[in-house]
Symmetry: C2
Subunit: 447 residues, 2 copies
């Protein structure tokens, strides 16, 4: 209808609006085709579907088909094949293309972020709070070792072996710290190990890791900016994250019964899912505005509902929503990944490649050792725990993005970090499956 609107002199904003919708619809079709084809193929080869979704994302993204590209990674509207399709089929005018491309990318980015919020909410729902508390000390230990070892080894190695100056070396070391909870938890869920003791330690450690990663990023960022560490900010982040997670859980325990009562008193459609989403989105919002992460809030909300009588029904209702939104996240992560930096035929990539090999080794070994620190559990699968901490995913990409934007990282170092993120992300799902393999795992009884 909109070309007609435009024809009677409607403003450009409105004319784009229908094009933005058309672009979003087309992007979602691409996302779903990529995730389904990738996921099914991956599954057919005995690999976790999420790996296929990531690969599907790479295929449709900046590295290959250019169907799904994002302005943040430097793509312009002329790089977007979807914009070309809109120009050819929907009469999108070249003038409106840039604005339409940006708006459409913004919408897809937000849908992807809503996807990871829903994913973490679902993971929280599926997790067992009591069990998570039981493995609390273990998880904290695993997380701390998994932050300190790769950070120290990475920074020292870069300075001593490659002669990288201190600040960029610290930055690259910091990029080695944070585990991607999204990828790890999805794989655990897919192989049915989320509620194993190993799974709960990994999830707990990944959450703590995420918090530690945010603190490390804050420290490193202020270091890069001012040359010194803002101690107040570090203390603030440690306290706020602890208070936030603890407070959400305590408050949730109180809120639990009234939530069930509220949901039962509501008479119109969405009586369960809407109050749950309100709670999850409020916690996500708080998580985002106190400079932590939205996904932390969503995870806390899921954990809280895990304790209610409505959990089973809620899980069932969240499932289709997750099925709709989560693939947007994984395909977008894949689509944003530029495999071009891996091409050794381009001479400028070579320095980065060598550093990358070093970073990858440190990234994998630095996390695998974390399994060793788990104590008092005879039969636990230490390999699986260490391997579960390997993927850096989107968190590592944030480090690379911040580093490049601040001018601290050289192109080579930036490319090396991106390669480390890609490799650890892609290598972890099959390794995790292998690590669990036929080894006995300490199963938690369902309650």
């Amino acid at each position: 209808m909109l070309p007609i609107l435009a024809s009677v002199g409607e403003t450009a904003t409105k004319a784009e609006s229908a094009m933005v919708l058309a672009g979003v619809l087309l992007s979602l079709v691409v996302v779903y085709l990529a995730s389904k084809i990738g996921g099914e193929l991956s599954n057919a080869f005995g690999l976790p579907p999420v790996l296929g979704e990531l690969v599907g994302g790479v295929v449709v993204g900046i590295s290959a088909l250019h169907l799904l590209v994002f302005p943040e990674s430097g793509a312009t509207s002329s790089d977007s094949f979807i914009m070309s399709i809109l120009q050819a089929t929907a009469g999108l005018s070249p003038d409106a293309t840039t604005a339409t491309f940006e708006a459409q990318s913004e919408v897809i980015s937000v849908l992807a972020e809503l996807g990871v919020i829903i994913l973490l909410f679902e993971i929280g729902l599926e997790s067992n709070l009591k069990q998570l508390m039981e493995v609390g000390i273990q998880a904290i230990l695993v997380a701390c070792v998994g932050v300190v070892v790769p950070f120290a080894a990475g920074t020292a190695g870069l300075m001593l072996i490659f002669g990288v100056p201190a600040i960029p070396a610290i930055f690259a070391g910091a990029a080695l710290t944070a585990t991607s909870i999204g990828i790890t938890s999805k794989v655990l869920s897919e192989i049915g190990r989320l509620n194993s003791q190993e799974g709960q330690i990994i999830i707990g450690a990944a959450v703590i890791d995420d918090v530690l990663g945010i603190i490390v990023l804050a420290v490193v960022a202020s270091l890069a900016k001012t040359g010194e560490v803002d101690v107040n900010n570090v203390i603030y982040l440690i306290i706020s994250s602890t208070v936030f997670l603890g407070g959400a859980i305590v408050l949730g325990k109180v809120f639990n019964k009234s939530f069930v009562a509220l949901s039962e008193s509501l008479k119109t459609r969405g009586e369960l899912i809407i109050p749950a989403l309100i709670f999850a989105f409020i916690l996500s919002y708080i998580g985002a505005v106190i400079h932590l992460e939205a996904i932390l809030g969503a995870f806390a909300a899921g954990l809280v509902f895990d304790e209610t009588d409505k959990r089973k029904e809620l899980e069932k209702q969240v499932r289709p929503i997750a099925d709709m939104l989560v693939p947007v996240f994984f395909v977008a992560v894949g689509a944003r990944t530029d495999l071009g930096v891996l091409n050794p035929a381009i001479p400028s990539n070579r320095e980065g490649l060598i550093i990358a090999v070093f970073l990858i080794v440190v990234a994998i070994l630095g996390k695998v050792v974390t399994g060793a620190v788990v104590f008092g559990k005879e039969k636990i699968n230490r390999w699986a725990i260490g391997v579960g901490m390997i993927p850096r995913g989107e968190v590592g990409l944030v480090f690379a993005g911040v580093g490049t934007a601040s001018g601290v990282l050289s192109d080579a170092l930036n490319a090396a970090i991106i390669m480390m993120v890609i490799l650890t992300t892609f290598v972890a799902p099959p390794l995790l499956r292998l690590a669990f393999g036929d080894a006995p795992s300490v199963e938690v009884k369902a309650d």
Copy 2:
């Protein structure tokens, strides 16, 4: 996390991105609170929940709380209470506020449009294609009368009684034609009459009305622009809409079995909902780009799946997705409605008010008479059919928007059209309930 990104010199685009997410989360919380509180209150008073959702939208929108406002209706970021909250709580910088506001509004608008797409998909799923075909002739008759009568009476009345010039009078008359399928179908579904013969005639007529409305808009718009009617375009629209709806249904019948087979062969999560969404979004996209409407495609997709064995399971899975997205549409329609134009204390509103009274009378009577043309059905509830065609909803607002933008409509006439849309939208749900009341309705057996 993003303020930290900003602090190391990240570009403005990235810094906004987290703010956009925070704004979207907050907007969704507002949408859900408004829709749930409104819906429950409405339900408690024996009214359809969707009416409460619309009122809830008005309360949080441009007319009252300013929590949800949109740039298209002339609001700026300083009108948005959510932006003020973001500035106060999330450290949104004043410089980035306008861009953040626009991006956030864009995302909410697209979510609302996805909401109405999912709604029409669900309505299509719940509709009965065979039954709809049976009432086909009736629906076409009702639709045609419901377009011709209000258009002719409105245009003639405005010219003869109020001395309005021909082109604006034709424009205002055209704004009286299109029925809001979203509101009517939601109410029918809520009162359990969607599959009554009356319900199916209303839905069928509303769909045809939508198509006729688009054609009328195209005619009127080209009239306003060039002073003459583009016959080719009119013929194009009539043919394309017929071919599209017919083609989708025929193709769907063929596609039916292979869809069920495909879904059964898929082994990973989302094996049913994802292929269904792919099909729905592709049809929506085609509907949008051939200058019809996205919702027409979604409706056709739902109709097609209505015929498959997987229908029940699909309905169950679409429900939570609809619960999540549909309220965004209704609350946004309410939030965009400016009740300020109804204030008679402002002198400039008075001319509009008088014209509005005339338009409202024509709008209601012109649709109520359509029930009379239904033939060959002894026991059918003709009142209910006529009343079901009353709400103009968002379609009428599009006419007002196009008219104002093209400079054809005076402020008074524009205000009158908006008032007509508001009144018919708000009056239809309770009237429809009343019309069905205890009257016997010809129920369709579920199959």
